[in-house]
């Protein structure tokens, strides 16, 4: 690593600036959550984060996020496959539109989804008579959480599919494998690390999502109250220690997931390098 002397200038100033900025703006503020939780005491923390209303919000948030990530895994893989393998009219535009959920502010996404699926909305007016309520139900939350995480799977899987040599598939086919066998035994093992990473990123995004859900959720405790909405509710009741305790539990959850994603990415990079 230090085989030759680095002649480039500015190490001290750029690294110093980076470290101070990160410490002041990211590390100290984030540590406030844990320090404030600690001053509240362990017993208060435990009773807050395990109270029935909070546990119900975890179940809804984690459940809807996992379901959303699973939907994104399926449709993300499909869209990535179509973009990587087929040529069709307007493909560049379709490719660009995939990133829309990243570009659209979450408040706009939530507002628009709520309008489309409301009783008199474009989709709602057909779905509601069929007995499918989306707006202000857990289904609406699932929809919003799926929307905000959609690009992750496509953007992780697409480059892997583009790199995958089609001759390997042709070889498998000419050796007598069926289309399904080729997909399951040749394509899937190569794509799997990227697919899991993409889904995990979508999951992480969904767990903390707030803006899009606030428009489409009725925020009813035990029914449509996700954890981030519950934190806001506690803040509005001036229950700062309660809000902070829930936030600390949520932060821990995201950190564990982030660590898992980093390990996954390191593993899939190794896999790509050796293959």
């Amino acid at each position: 690593m230090r085989a030759r002397r680095n002649v480039l200038p500015g190490f001290g100033i750029s690294t110093g600036l980076t470290l101070s900025y990160i410490t002041l703006l990211i590390l100290i503020p984030l540590s406030a959550v844990f320090l404030s939780t600690a001053t509240g005491g362990w017993e208060h923390f435990r009773s807050t984060v395990t109270s029935p209303q909070v546990v119900a919000s975890y179940k809804l948030t984690v459940g809807a996020s996992i379901a959303g990530a699973a939907i994104n895994a399926v449709f993300g893989l499909l869209v990535a496959w179509v973009l990587a393998r087929y040529d069709f009219f307007g493909k560049r535009w379709v490719d660009a539109i995939v990133d829309l959920p990243f570009a659209l502010p979450t408040a706009v996404a939530g507002l628009s989804l709520a309008a489309i699926y409301a009783d008199n909305g474009w989709f709602g007016r057909y779905l509601v008579p069929m007995g499918i309520q989306v707006a202000f139900t857990p289904t609406g939350i699932l929809l919003a959480l799926t929307f905000v995480g959609f690009p992750f799977v496509v953007r992780n899987v697409q480059p892997v599919l583009e790199d995958l040599d089609e001759e390997i598939e042709e070889a498998a086919r000419s050796l007598g494998a069926t289309r399904w066998q080729t997909f399951r035994l040749v394509i899937m093992p190569t794509v799997l690390p990227a697919l899991v990473t993409g889904s995990a990123l979508a999951l992480a995004r969904a767990l903390g999502e707030y803006g899009s859900v606030v428009f489409i959720s009725a925020n009813i405790p035990f029914k449509t109250q996700i954890t981030s909405l519950l934190i806001i509710t506690k803040l509005e009741e001036y229950d700062y220690t309660g809000a902070t305790a829930i936030a600390a539990a949520m932060l821990l959850m995201s950190f564990v997931l982030l660590l898992a994603i980093n390990l996954l990415q390191a593993r899939s990079r190794r896999y790509q390098e050796t293959s």
Partner: protein, 278 residues
């Protein structure tokens, strides 16, 4: 890339599968992604252009636009300078703990927006660390403009650095080293060698950072206090209008953010095409 693919004899079933997959993918994208986008504009123009302009010209909306522009005008330049410094440090030098630094840099993306706002309430709020001191000196940060600016800076920290780092990593260090050996000063090297190389990804980073700074909802919502005409940004104004059942106005204001989002999407794509072509 795809155009040069060998045209092998495609079986009838292969054709059918291809046609089917493309159709399902396009229908999904149309219903799931494009419809909400169109709905924004359709609803905003529900009462025609006159209704649209009236909603935008509302004094509270104009105040929200002004505050959003102020917050972005402070957050974006700061994070751009930081992004350049961080990318320079990370890509041009080897040091211990670099991976940890990159992970920390990404934290604002991993943290829930609600928590991104909460942390500043814990530090500067009335019951926070500096709360009593700030109250004594009559300085208000939370439920005021400084809090909104802080929250905006926090959520947009990684954007510029994130765009620059992979690009500068791919570029290597040789060109800068050559310039220095030939007698250029550090600043000359940066402005004449590095900057021209990274200009497109820098532009993409700045635009993404701006779009997010103006569109951030959750973090800003926590620290704002929602005082109409004073501490409302554009996204918060959308929420207030929606809660007041003023749907056309809510969508008209939301359409401004949508334009911004679409602009960032288009610029990002152009930059991607530019950097892959060269």
């Amino acid at each position: 890339m795809t155009g040069r693919r060998r045209q092998h004899a495609e079986t009838a079933s292969g054709k059918l599968i291809r046609w089917l997959l493309i159709t399902v993918a396009l229908v999904f994208l149309a219903l799931f992604l494009v419809t909400p986008l169109i709905a924004v504009f359709a609803q905003a123009l529900d009462k025609g252009w006159a209704g649209y302009w009236e909603a935008i010209r509302d004094p509270e909306t104009l105040a929200a636009i002004r505050l959003t522009l102020i917050a972005a005008a402070i957050a974006v330049p700061l994070n751009t300078l930081f992004g350049i410094a961080a990318a320079w440090s990370i890509t041009k030098f080897d040091f211990r703990g670099k991976n940890l630094l990159i992970t920390i840099l990404d934290l604002p993306f991993a943290v829930s927006p609600v928590i991104s706002g909460l942390i500043f309430v814990l530090i500067f709020g009335a019951q926070g660390w500096f709360g009593p001191w700030l109250a004594d000196h009559d300085i208000q940060i939370i439920f005021a403009v400084p809090g909104i600016i802080l929250a905006t800076i926090f959520v947009t920290v990684p954007f510029v650095a994130r765009e620059l780092i992979p690009h500068m990593q791919a570029q290597g260090r040789e060109e800068e080293e050559a310039a220095l050996v030939l007698g250029a000063t550090g600043l000359q090297t940066f402005f004449r060698v590095t900057l021209p190389n990274i200009k497109w990804s820098l532009l993409a980073g700045v635009i993404l950072c701006t779009a997010r700074a103006m569109g951030e909802f959750g973090a800003v919502s926590v620290v704002s206090g929602h005082i109409r005409g004073e501490t409302n940004t554009i996204p918060l104004q959308v929420e207030i209008l929606y809660q007041g059942f003023n749907y056309v106005a809510a969508f008209a204001v939301a359409s401004l953010l949508t334009f911004l989002g679409l602009a960032s999407l288009i610029v990002k794509k152009i930059v991607e095409w530019k950097t892959t072509e060269t």
